[in-house]
């Protein structure tokens, strides 16, 4: 009994092999159609996963999107409230690894003049801390001459030339600095002089204080909302708010782009599947003769159908394995072309794409079920 089953099984695979090898041209055609489908599926799936992540990173060219500012309690004119820089230590280390940038800032009004000129220009000096973890311990040591980024409008107003020195003066001290030109941003930076945090703190006589903290948080709108919630817990006594101009606009745009991508890819995948199926079915109908012959020599309908399904599954596997591999390679190249960084191949995409290709192949063999009910005699007589 087992022997018979073994022989049967051997025969089954032998027939499948013959079916596959019978017509080289047809085999190539089927593999081509299935492979193309597999390649597109794999490439698009891989690209879609990667593109979403890249886009959220791309959005950060807009700059910071969250602000932590002192909560004001009845300010009476005078100097605005400030935050203690040591608050920065509360930010967990792993945030920095997630690519979150944290910049403490301190603004003050100072007068600036050039050496050898008595024209004094009142302007805003911004102290900018580095995005490092050890801020707040000690600002950079006081240097006699620092470098400062001078906004374009300040440079124009003061008629600064390269290599000229600029002196910033407040009530408490004077700070000479080297003029470092910047390019126009269209933002408030154009009207400011940006110096290192420590220098600004010295100028304002506010050691260890920051006016506000700017955070640049990459991620989906949902991730940013979560980040704001955890920041509010970290800084219960400060005012944490999103820069709505960017968070809201971004959320809108992200959803749109995501929609376009997902919809386009879904449509392409579904139609590609139909397309491959139509091509496969076209080939499958040609098998009428084979089916007639098998039935004539005593093949049961179920076994005949199983034979053809096995053939289709094998073809799907072959086409899928080759196509999906090509597709993933393609998506790496595409990712590089679009975002300048190669898309990381996701291993999960490979089995999914192969599985989908097999599914399409098996589905497209289904019209054969109808063939299984044909009468062999009429086929051999040449009737349709």
């Amino acid at each position: 009994m087992t022997e018979l089953r073994d022989t049967n099984r051997a025969m089954f695979w032998r027939i499948v092999r013959r079916l596959l090898g019978a017509n080289r041209g047809r085999l190539v055609v089927m593999l081509l159609a299935l492979g193309a489908g597999g390649a597109v599926t794999a490439a698009l799936l891989n690209l879609q996963v990667d593109a979403k992540r890249r886009l959220t990173t791309e959005f950060r060219t807009f700059g910071p999107n969250i602000i932590v500012a002192p909560r004001e309690n009845s300010v009476h004119g005078g100097s605005p409230e400030t935050l203690d820089e040591s608050l920065l230590r509360r930010i967990p280390q792993e945030w920095y690894q997630r690519g979150i940038k944290v910049v403490p800032l301190l603004y003050l009004v100072a007068e600036a003049y050039k050496t050898g000129s008595d024209r004094r220009v009142p302007l805003v000096v911004a102290g900018k801390g580095g995005s490092t973890m050890h801020v707040g311990v000690n600002g950079p040591p006081f240097e006699s001459l620092i470098s400062c980024d001078v906004g374009t409008r300040v440079a124009a107003e003061m008629q600064l030339r390269p290599q000229e020195k600029l002196i910033l003066q407040t009530r408490v001290r004077e700070q000479p600095c080297n003029f470092n030109p910047t390019s126009a941003t269209g933002g408030p930076e154009d009207d400011q002089v940006i110096v290192a945090m420590g220098a600004a703190q010295d100028l304002a006589a506010l050691p260890g204080r920051a006016g506000m903290i700017e955070l640049t948080v990459p991620g989906t709108p949902q991730e940013i909302t979560n980040c704001i919630a955890s920041l509010r817990q970290l800084f219960p006594d400060a005012d944490v708010r999103p820069i709505r101009q960017f968070t809201e606009g971004e959320a809108k745009i992200y959803n749109r782009i995501n929609g376009v991508l997902t919809a386009t890819i879904a449509v392409v995948l579904v139609l590609t599947a139909f397309c491959v199926m139509a091509a496969m079915t076209n080939v499958a109908i040609e098998r009428k003769m084979d089916v007639g012959l098998m039935k004539a020599i005593g093949g049961a309908t179920r076994r005949v159908v199983r034979l053809f399904l096995a053939e289709a599954a094998l073809l799907g596997l072959g086409g899928g394995l080759i196509g999906a591999a090509l597709g993933i390679l393609l998506s790496i190249g595409l990712g590089k072309a679009v975002f300048g960084v190669a898309a990381r191949p996701r291993l999960i995409v490979y089995p999914v794409a192969v599985g989908l290709t097999m599914l399409v192949a098996i589905l497209s063999a289904f019209p054969l079920r109808r063939l299984a009910s044909i009468r062999p005699a009429s086929v051999f007589r040449g009737e349709a």
Binding site: A36, R54, F62, E157, G186, I253, R256, V267, V268
Partner: protein
């Protein structure tokens, strides 16, 4: 006879033709839908990006440096320069006036604000030093060539939310930033008095029509009609800063070049492309004495993301077209392979290889045009549906896509059948007819 043969082939085996045609139609449907979306998405997304607000800022050239910290300008009102409001309609006369989506002039005045209740002896004295921002909420600008253009902060700062209503132009009304409203216990319908800090203009009582939340410095300020701010500042018909929101084309390497190095032809090309720099230049020409700066933070990110998304979609489209082409090619190859017996018979009856090839190619082409046409219709329906779902507006069907799709269908079917056709033309009729 030729047409009879072609017609016969279609009539005799309808199911075969139907399947090949279906593969073609689906493939071309994919191509059409993807192409239509990709062609349209740039414009649509550019419009979406305007939800980030203004991308150009106009300031007087002779202005002194603003001393603004946390939204409070420490500069005296008399310092600096102002611009005439009467010039603003000229913005809609520049070459790219249709790309100007909105603009709003700003005039800020440092003020004291108090509520009538705080003047009584018993109520807590709520007296704030704050900034009054004068602007347009929804202002109808009379365009020089007739008609009006509705613009204001609603267009340039779409993320501003008003709980209640915007103030009406010309009335003594205002909206109050949410933080200031909380501090002063102001609600919609209340009256707030403001008087300028630095000159002797009389105080003005404004009715609060809504509470403004922006997430920015405006949360601490009062936003009122421009005319109110002009009255308080003693600067009738003037403003200090203008925000412009313009629809632009992402800057490429060409747009980043210095305009001074352009040849006249290049200069014309630059001028006639809606690059942000050329729009800025045109505004500067139209409004003398101004400095127009690009808000890099908004404009640069926008251009970068826009070009990336567009490229991504083009690649998806290309991949879709490639897959459709391969599947269609495979389908038409299959339909030729299966007709070896027929080809053998034709040759046995005396048809030359050329005639057979021509006949089959004509059949395939006919199929390609029918399938391509059906696929185009299918794809357009699909693209419309997608467009409405995602952007709320359907892409316009273009002749270009139709021609591309038909051409693609013809090329793909011919290529797909080329190899089997060549083999078919070399077929020896005898072995085929014998069934070998």
């Amino acid at each position: 006879m030729f047409f009879r043969l072609v017609g016969d082939s279609f009539g005799r085996r309808p199911r075969h033709k139907l399947l090949t045609g279906a593969a073609l139609a689906l493939g071309m449907g994919v191509a059409t839908a993807a192409l239509s979306v990709a062609l349209d998405v740039g414009d649509r997304l550019a419009r979406e990006f305007r939800s980030l607000g203004a991308n150009l800022v106009v300031t007087p050239k002779a202005d002194s440096l603003p001393l603004e910290i946390g939204g409070v300008d420490y500069r005296p009102v008399n310092a600096g320069a102002y611009l005439p409001e009467a010039d603003l309609p000229k913005l809609k006369t520049i070459f790219w006036h249709n790309n100007i989506m909105g603009f709003a002039p700003i005039l800020e005045v440092p003020v004291q604000s108090w509520t009538p209740a705080s003047q009584t002896a018993f109520a807590p004295k709520i007296n704030n030093e704050t900034t009054l921002i004068g602007t347009w909420a929804r202002h109808a600008v009379a365009v020089p060539d007739g008609g009006t253009f509705l613009t204001g902060a609603e267009k340039t700062n779409p993320w501003w939310q008003v709980d209640g209503q915007w103030f009406a132009e010309g009335n003594l009304e205002c909206v109050v930033g949410q933080n200031l409203a909380r501090k002063s216990q102001l609600r919609a319908g209340d009256i707030v008095n403001v008087s300028p800090k630095e000159n002797s203009s009389p105080a003005v009582a404004l009715e609060v029509t809504g509470i403004l939340s922006t997430g920015g410095v405006e949360d601490e300020a009062i936003v009122a009609p421009l005319s109110v701010a002009q009255r308080l500042a003693g600067k009738p018909g003037e403003y200090r800063k203008l925000y412009v929101s313009a629809l632009t084309k992402p800057e490429d390497a060409f747009a980043k070049r210095d305009t001074k190095t352009f040849t006249p032809a290049e200069y014309d090309r630059w001028f006639c492309t809606p690059y942000i720099s050329s729009i800025a230049f045109q505004i500067q020409q139209e409004l003398p004495g101004t400095e127009v700066r690009v808000i890099r933070r908004v404009a640069e990110g926008e251009g970068q993301i826009l070009s990336r998304v567009q490229m991504l979609l083009w690649l998806v489209t290309l991949a879709a077209m490639l897959a459709a082409a391969l599947a269609v090619g495979a389908s038409s190859a299959a339909s030729v392979i299966e007709r070896q017996v027929e080809i053998g018979l034709m040759k046995a009856l005396g048809a030359g290889s050329g005639a057979v090839g021509f006949l089959l190619a004509a059949e395939q082409l006919l199929l390609a045009f029918v399938g391509g046409g059906v696929g185009y219709a299918l794809g357009i329906v699909l693209a419309r549906w997608l467009g409405e779902k995602i952007f709320g507006a359907a892409p316009e069907p273009t002749l270009l896509v139709f021609l591309v799709v038909l051409g693609l269908a013809a090329v793909v079917t011919l290529l797909g059948s080329a190899i089997p056709l060549r083999r078919a033309s070399r077929i020896e009729p005898a072995p085929i007819l014998r069934g070998e």
